[in-house]
């Protein structure tokens, strides 16, 4: 034993300790990846752009989920592992709202005079809002019951509780009295329309007709995901930067005891943060289920994990970081599925995380960690 300790560091240890070697390695990989992307782009610019659109579609959904992780972490330093399952509940709420209540069609029934695109938009927005409100309420309840009593407990206790809540939501959801254990086909809230983008303009594509060569296809689903995500991000940004509650949130994230001394209702702010994060996850659930129309009780695990990775990659605690990290993960997944191999997609996405953290341990937008007393 002692002999081993007295030995000189091995070659591997020397390599790991020398940061410049890590940076050189990272640079080499980055160059390799860029080269591969350029080659792929030159081989087929249209299909490459098409894959980039696919990547955005996935990335924006991850962004909405990642925001919940990042906001909660920023304020209470808790990785809320139940977040992916709140996302699942959001998807199921919208499923029941569409399949059983027909909530997406109410404007057409109540106000038949509206143009069809407007009544569809209002219907879809009501579905999204219902999911957001339900998830916000669910997260508020979870926070009050499971996390608040542990506010002053060691951080690991809250983490384990979060994992427990996650399992509870999954397996309670799997019960026949809740969502049931089966895959359920999700009914999209609107009919799919594909548009063909070419140099001569944008034309709607007839269903069942192959798109012409060298054109981009964009479906109303991609647009719907990107527009709703951007809208929510914009509202969130405004809320955090420009409102009193947002200011209080930032203050709480910075220093809880001092905020309390300044008269901020810290517990209330924490609850609001959980609720907002969950509302975004609920919206993400609706968007995800619309893009990939199948819902089941464990559907939140993988997207939740990916979004968590995205939040860490972007710098956990940072709102722009969550967006950038999620878009990087989304693009990395789709482009590696397209140009390397589908089973490798997760390996590539997670490798990017590891490589970035080697150089910037706090993530792309992460502030350098400050030690708290």
């Amino acid at each position: 034993m002692n002999a081993a300790i007295n030995q000189k560091p091995s070659l591997l240890e020397t390599i790991i300790r020398k940061r410049w070697l890590g940076k050189g390695f990272l640079l080499a990989i980055a160059i390799l990846a860029l080269w591969k992307l350029t080659i792929s782009f030159l081989a087929g610019p249209t299909i490459f752009m098409q894959q980039v659109i696919n990547g955005f579609q996935l990335g924006f959904v991850y962004a909405l989920i990642a925001l919940g992780y990042t906001m909660v972490y920023g304020i209470v330093r808790l990785i809320n592992f139940a977040h992916g399952d709140v996302f699942m509940v959001g998807a199921f709420v919208s499923y029941y709202a569409i399949a059983d209540l027909g909530l997406n069609t109410w404007p057409a029934k109540v106000m038949p005079g509206l143009p069809s695109w407007l009544s569809t938009a209002i219907g879809v927005i009501s579905v999204v809002l219902l999911s957001m409100v339900s998830c916000a309420f669910l997260a508020y309840t979870i926070e009050r019951i499971a996390y608040k009593p542990l506010r002053n407990a060691p951080r690991i206790s809250a983490l384990i509780t979060a994992i427990g809540v996650s399992f509870f939501l999954e397996y309670f959801g799997a019960l026949p009295i809740a969502f049931g254990p089966n895959f359920v086909t999700y009914q999209r809230p609107f009919e799919v329309v594909n548009w063909v983008i070419s140099t001569s303009g944008i034309v709607a594509l007839e269903p069942g007709v192959a798109p012409p060569d060298n054109t981009l296809i964009i479906s109303n689903i991609s647009l719907y995901i990107i527009i709703i995500s951007l809208l929510l991000l914009f509202i969130l940004n405004f809320f955090v930067r420009r409102t009193r509650v947002g200011k209080a949130m930032r203050a709480t994230a910075y220093d809880k005891p001092t905020s309390r001394l300044m008269g901020i209702n810290v517990d209330g702010i924490i609850s609001v943060t959980f609720a907002i994060g969950a509302a975004l996850a609920g919206a993400a659930g609706v968007l995800y289920a619309t893009a990939f129309p199948q819902v089941y009780f464990a559907m939140g695990i993988i997207p939740g994990l990916k979004a968590f990775v995205a939040a860490v990659l972007g710098g956990i605690g940072s709102i722009p970081g969550a967006l950038v990290g999620a878009l990087i993960i989304g693009e990395a997944e789709v482009l590696s599925a397209a140009y390397i191999s589908t089973p490798m997609r997760d390996a590539v996405a997670f490798s990017i995380l590891v490589l970035v953290l080697l150089v910037r341990p706090t993530g792309i937008f992460g502030e350098p960690s400050r030690e708290k007393a």
């Binding site: 098409q50 696919n54 579609q57």
Partner: protein
């Protein structure tokens, strides 16, 4: 009082030893055993199977039996599991002196049973066990006394390749789950057969079963302009891929295997697609129509309506018929001769005209079912 009871019980016990021996000794019937999971995880499989076999036995007996003797069906519960199946098979063979067995339903039970029957020279035919190891041993040698009535998985790839080629399609794109033997087997068989039939597989992509985002693959499919998208996976993946294909501009005709056969298949997402299956009640061949009538007359469903036979009942009916026909063809109850006769048989069953290949797998047709207008309808019967 208690003395009299004792005497009666003793007589009953003695009788129970003597009487079956008399029945076995008297060669007035030919015994056929049935191993079916009547309890355990999949009892509905066992019930369906037993119903199919019972109709076959009754038909033969109504025609006067086989070799001038009536057929006696001996049923044993084998629970779709190795140990109970082995016990049930030993009971059938040693106690009931059965020399012909229909069963088991599940591959995991049929394989251990096959070891016993080949030792004891008893003919076994499984109606529905698809695992290759049921009829061949570890060294790839065929087990002389074991047969099956269903086609094995890769055969479905060949069927769909024939169907696609018959429709005039020239190019195909294959997608499969690399971690699932079922989909890998079907995909490989499809690729091989489709190429042999003059088609071309212009793209091949694998995925893992946790995937939900198929946009990257489907963009490639759309770009490749393939006419057929072969996706031999289970219905849940088909639902996801089908829905996403529609918003990536994929116009290829989707095709798959019996994994699609579920009430939960999303008929909107798989609209225009085709899949292969063992049997379809919508088949218009006279023998199928006749079978539906016979089965419906014998069994009623919960609402008291004539019951529609499922694939398990149908394959069980075919298996029992094959076995009894082989006994008749052999002209003797000698199991070695019956096994030889079965290997060389050609029999028109409900699930197609059946002959056996060198590995005791049936060479027979399959049906192709199309999804159109929200309904799953019989499209074509494909000869082998």
């Amino acid at each position: 009082m208690s003395k009299r009871l004792f005497v009666i019980l003793s007589l009953v016990i003695i009788a129970s030893f003597i009487l079956p021996a008399c029945g076995g000794g008297g060669s007035s019937t030919i015994k056929v055993g049935l191993l079916a999971p009547l309890s355990g995880a999949v009892p509905t499989f066992g019930i369906s199977t037993q119903q199919g076999v019972e109709i076959a036995v009754k038909e033969w007996n109504d025609k006067g039996g086989v070799l001038g003797k009536k057929i006696e069906l001996v049923v044993a519960d084998s629970q779709c599991s190795a140990d109970p199946a082995v016990n049930a098979a030993n009971k059938l063979i040693d106690q009931d002196k059965v020399k012909f067995i229909v069963g088991e339903v599940c591959s995991s039970a049929s394989i251990p049973v096959s070891e016993i029957v080949n030792q004891k020279k008893v003919v076994q035919i499984s109606p529905t066990s698809t695992n290759a190891g049921v009829t061949v041993d570890k060294d790839g040698k065929v087990k002389p006394f074991t047969f099956r009535a269903c086609f094995i998985d890769p055969f479905q790839g060949l069927v769909m390749a024939k169907f696609a080629a018959g429709k005039g399609f020239k190019t195909a794109f294959v997608m499969y789950d690399q971690g699932n033997d079922y989909t890998v087997g079907l995909a490989e068989a499809f690729e091989k057969s489709f190429t042999e039939l003059g088609g071309q597989v212009i793209g091949k992509e694998t995925y893992i079963k946790e995937d939900t985002d198929f946009s990257a693959i489907l963009t490639k499919v759309a770009d490749s302009k393939a006419e057929v998208l072969y996706l031999p996976d289970y219905y849940n993946i088909v639902n996801l891929v089908g829905a996403q294909a529609k918003d990536k501009g994929v116009t290829a005709v989707m095709m798959g295997g019996d994994g699609w056969d579920s009430a939960d298949l999303d008929v909107k997402a798989s609209e225009g697609g085709f899949y292969s299956n063992h049997y379809d009640p919508g088949d218009t061949r006279p023998i199928v129509v006749e079978w539906l009538k016979k089965f419906g007359a014998a069994y009623k469903d919960d609402q008291g309506q004539p019951k529609v036979p499922d694939a398990l009942s149908t394959l069980a009916y075919d298996a029992a018929n094959l076995l009894i026909a082989a006994i008749q063809k052999a002209g003797t109850e000698d199991s070695t001769k019956v096994a030889e006769a079965l290997a060389a048989i050609s029999w028109e069953g409900v699930s197609g005209t059946i002959t056996f290949d060198a590995l005791h797998n049936p060479i027979k047709g399959a049906v192709v079912i199309g999804v159109a207008g929200g309904n799953k309808t019989f499209a074509e019967a494909i000869a082998p």
